[in-house]
C-alpha cells in the first residue's frame, strides 16, 4: 500500500454511503422549474428573459452582473411564466425564473461544442464564464474567475477533488465511476486553461473502485492519482493542497499563492460537457439519502423542487424532521421541500424527527477535543468563548478568519457547544464592521 496523503486534525464520522452502488438515474424535469438567479458565490445574475419568453434547454436566462458573478441557464424547454421571489437554499427568498416545462427537451439551437483543435486556454475560460460553470463541491465559486490567476501569480498543479469526505454523499463517487474518462478530459481542459504543468486526481481510499478506474486511463492520458486517507474534511481545499502537495496556503491567501488549483470532479465533468458538447451547466448529480424510501443518485435539472426528488425516491420514510441540502457536516437545513435544487446541491439528506440532533449546549470542560481536530489549527473553544462575549477582535487575532467552517469542532464537543455556529457569528460580525 503506497503512502496515503493526509493532513493534521480532522474527524472520522460514520460514512453512511448507502447509495454508492446506485447508478445515476436521470430525473425528468417537473412541469414547472424554479431557477434562482443566485446559485453561485458572488452577485446574483441579471435576468435576460421576461414573462412569456420561449426558452430551451441551455438558453441563457441570467447573465453575470459584473465581474464577480455567473450566468444562469434554463434546464428545460418551455415558457417563462414569471420572474419572482421564491424560497431559496439560503433561507431567504431570491429572484427566481419560473419556467413552464413543455416536456419536449428541445436544446437551445445556438449551442455547439468546440472542435478539439480550436480549444485554447482563453476559449475554455470563456466557455466557463458563458456556460455558468461554478464549483460543484458546494462553494459554487465561478470557475472562470478562479481559472484566471491574479497578475504575477501562476498555477503549477491542478488537483481534481474526488475526496467526497462528507458522510452520506456519493454523487461525486458515482460520477467518477460512470464518467471516468469525461472527468479526466475535463481535468485536462482545466489544466490547459490554468497553464498548470501537472494534473492530479485525488480520491479518498474508501473509493477503491474509482481509484482503479482512473489508474486504467493513466496510459492514455497524462495525470497522476493521489490516494487520500479517509478523513473529514479531506476535501477541504486547503487540507487537500496540504495533503497532496505538502504546501500550506498562507493565512488570508488563496491556493494560487502556492501555485495550486483545486476543482471538484463534478465541475471538471461540467467543463468537459460545456467545451465538447456546448452544454451549459443545467443539470447536476444529487444524492438523495437518509429517510427516503429509495435512496438514489439522480441527475437533476437545476430548478427542480426538492419535493419532486423525494417523490421520485418513493417519498419520505417516517416523518421528516430535517431536510439538509448537502452533507450532514456542512449542509444547510431547509425549512421546506419546495426549495429548488441549485448548482451547489450535492445531496439531499432527510432526517426523521427522531434522528435530529438537537442537543442543548452545556459548559465547556476544556477537554481539548476541538483543538485536536481543528484542521486549521485553531482554538475553537476559545473562539466560542470570545464569540459569546462579543470579543470579536480577539478572535481575529487568534485567526478566526482562517476557519473553514467544517464543523469538526461541533461534531466532537462533549459539551455539545455550537462552536462552528459561534465562529460563524464572529466572522459575520467582523465582516459587518469592515
Amino acid at each position: 500500500m503506497p503512502k496515503l496523503f493526509t493532513f493534521r486534525g480532522g474527524i472520522h464520522p460514520g460514512e453512511f454511503k448507502f447509495t454508492e452502488k446506485e447508478a445515476i438515474e436521470d430525473l425528468k424535469a417537473p412541469e414547472t422549474v424554479y431557477i434562482p438567479l443566485s446559485q453561485h458565490f458572488g452577485k446574483p445574475a441579471k435576468a435576460v428573459v421576461k414573462k412569456g419568453d420561449r426558452v430551451y434547454v441551455g438558453t441563457l436566462i441570467g447573465e453575470p452582473d459584473g465581474g464577480f458573478s455567473a450566468s444562469v441557464h434554463s434546464s428545460v424547454s418551455g415558457t417563462v411564466k414569471k420572474i419572482d421571489k421564491y424560497p431559496h437554499i439560503s433561507g431567504t427568498s431570491v429572484p427566481t425564473v419560473v419556467i413552464e416545462n413543455d416536456e419536449t427537451d428541445e436544446i437551445e439551437p445556438s449551442l455547439k461544442g468546440i472542435p478539439e483543435d480550436e480549444i485554447t486556454p482563453e476559449k475554455i475560460i470563456e466557455v466557463a464564464r458563458n456556460f455558468g460553470i461554478v464549483g460543484l463541491g458546494g462553494a459554487t465559486f465561478p470557475a472562470a474567475i478562479k481559472m484566471s490567476p491574479p497578475k504575477g501569480k501562476s498555477f503549477d498543479t491542478v488537483i481534481l477533488n474526488g475526496a467526497e469526505c462528507e458522510p452520506y454523499l456519493t454523487s461525486d463517487h458515482r460520477l467518477m465511476l460512470e464518467f471516468t474518462e469525461e472527468i479526466i478530459k475535463g481535468g485536462l481542459l482545466v489544466q490547459k486553461a490554468t497553464k498548470a504543468a501537472k494534473l492530479i486526481i485525488a480520491v479518498e481510499e474508501n473509493k477503491p473502485d474509482a481509484i482503479n478506474l482512473f489508474e486504467k486511463y493513466r496510459d492514455k492520458y497524462e495525470f497522476e492519482v493521489a490516494v487520500l486517507k479517509t478523513k473529514y474534511p479531506q476535501g477541504g481545499e486547503k487540507q487537500l493542497i496540504k495533503a497532496v502537495l505538502g504546501r500550506e496556503v498562507p493565512e488570508g491567501g488563496l491556493p494560487v499563492d502556492v501555485g495550486a488549483y483545486v476543482q471538484n470532479v463534478g465541475t471538471a465533468y461540467a467543463i468537459w460537457d460545456a467545451v465538447y458538447n456546448g452544454m451549459p451547466l443545467v443539470k447536476r448529480i444529487v444524492t438523495v439519502t437518509g429517510a427516503v424510501n429509495k435512496r438514489k443518485n439522480l441527475r437533476v435539472p437545476i430548478g427542480t423542487p426538492i419535493a419532486h426528488l423525494i417523490d421520485y425516491c418513493g417519498g419520505y420514510m417516517g416523518t421528516p424532521g430535517k431536510i439538509i441540502s448537502g452533507g450532514p457536516m456542512m449542509g444547510i437545513a431547509l425549512y421546506t421541500d419546495e426549495i429548488p435544487v441549485t448548482k451547489g446541491t450535492s445531496g439531499i439528506l432527510v432526517q426523521r424527527e427522531e434522528e435530529m440532533v438537537l442537543d442543548e449546549p452545556t459548559n465547556c470542560i476544556r477537554c481539548g477535543r476541538c483543538v485536536n481536530v481543528c484542521p486549521m489549527n485553531l482554538m475553537p473553544n476559545l473562539l466560542g468563548d470570545y464569540s459569546e462575549n462579543n470579543m470579536h477582535d480577539l478572535s481575529k487575532e487568534i485567526g478566526v478568519l482562517n476557519c473553514i467552517e467544517c464543523g469538526s469542532c461541533s461534531y466532537v464537543c462533549p459539551a455539545k457547544r455550537h462552536l462552528v455556529q459561534l465562529i460563524k457569528t464572529t466572522k459575520f460580525q467582523l465582516k459587518r464592521k469592515r
Binding site: K238, E248, L334, N363, G368, M379, I398, P414
Partner: protein, 333 residues
Amino acid sequence: MADKKLLTITPAPHIKSKFTTRRMMSMVLIALLPAFIGSIYFFGLRALWVTLISMVTAVVTEYGYQKLTKKKITAFDGSAALTGILLAFVISPSVPYWIPVVGSFFAILFVKQLFGGIGYNFMNPALAGRAFLMASWPAFMTGKWIAPTGGTLSGIESITTATPLSTLKLVGHSKDVANLLNSAESLKHLFFGNVGGCIGETSALLLLIGGLFLIFINIIDWRIPVAYIGTVFALYIPLYYSGVSLLTPLFHILAGGLIIGAFFMATDPVTSPITKKGRWIFGIGAGLLTVLIRQWGGYPEGVSYSIIIMNMFVPLIEKYTLPKPFGRVRRTA
C-alpha cells in the same frame, strides 16, 4: 405554504459524536474502580464509607446550590461525584466522618459552583478541598494513618509509625532506614499498595491500570502524566547520586500521591492547559514543584500543592502556547 408544516432548521453539523461530558466522567469513574476496590481491601470498610460520604456530599451540595440559585441541574453529570471520590482518595482513611463532608462541601460550593460551575473552576476542586482540610484540621489529615491489611504503615517491617514518604522526615536522615525503603521488597509494597497512606493513592498498580485505560480510550492526554512523573524521576537521579536525597528516583515516583496526582488530578481538563505544548509545560512544572516540596519543603508530600499552583498558571501557559493557525507564517499577536 401556510397549511404545510415547516421543517426544523439548525446550523450544521447535523450529526454529532455520541460522546458527552457525562460519558467522559463515567469513564474516569470506571477507571478509579480498581483503586477503589483496592482501598476497601487495604483499609477496610472505613475506606468505603469515607468515599461514599464524600461523593454523596459533593452531589448533594451541587444539587442544592443549583436548586437554590435556580440554575440548570447538572449535579448528576458525574463530575461532582468524581470530585467527591477524588477528595476521599487523597485523605487518610482514619479521618472522622465529618471531614469528607466539610471537604466536599467546600470543594463543590466554594471552588466549583461559586466560580460558575463545571468548566469554570480555576483549580482542581478535590485538591483545593484537601488543601482546605489540611490547613484547617492538620491533626486529622496527617496525624493518624492506618496500616493496610497484611502490611505495615511504611512498607518496611521495622517501622510502624510513618508512611513511606514521611519515614525519613520522622526518623531523621538515616542511611540504614533509607536502604530499607529503597529495597526491592519496599518498592514491591509501594507498587502493589499495601503501605499506609491516603485511601486511594497507595497502590501504584491499581492506579496505573485506570490511568492507562483513560489514555487508551483517549480521555486523558498522556503528555501530562509522562511529563510530570518523568520530571520527578529525572530530577531525583542527580539528587540521589549526589547524596542530597537518600531515596532513589524509583521510590519517589511510586511513593505518595504522585501516580494518582499525575494520572487523575493533573489531567483534569478544566484545570490543565488545553494546548499540547502547554500540557508538557504544566507537567514539567508540577514535577519541579513536587520535588522542591518533597525535598526542601515542610511537608513530606508536595503533589497536591504542586498541582494547585500549576492550575493557577494555566491561563498564562495557554496564552503563550496558542497553536499557530494553519498557514500563518509569523505570529502577529
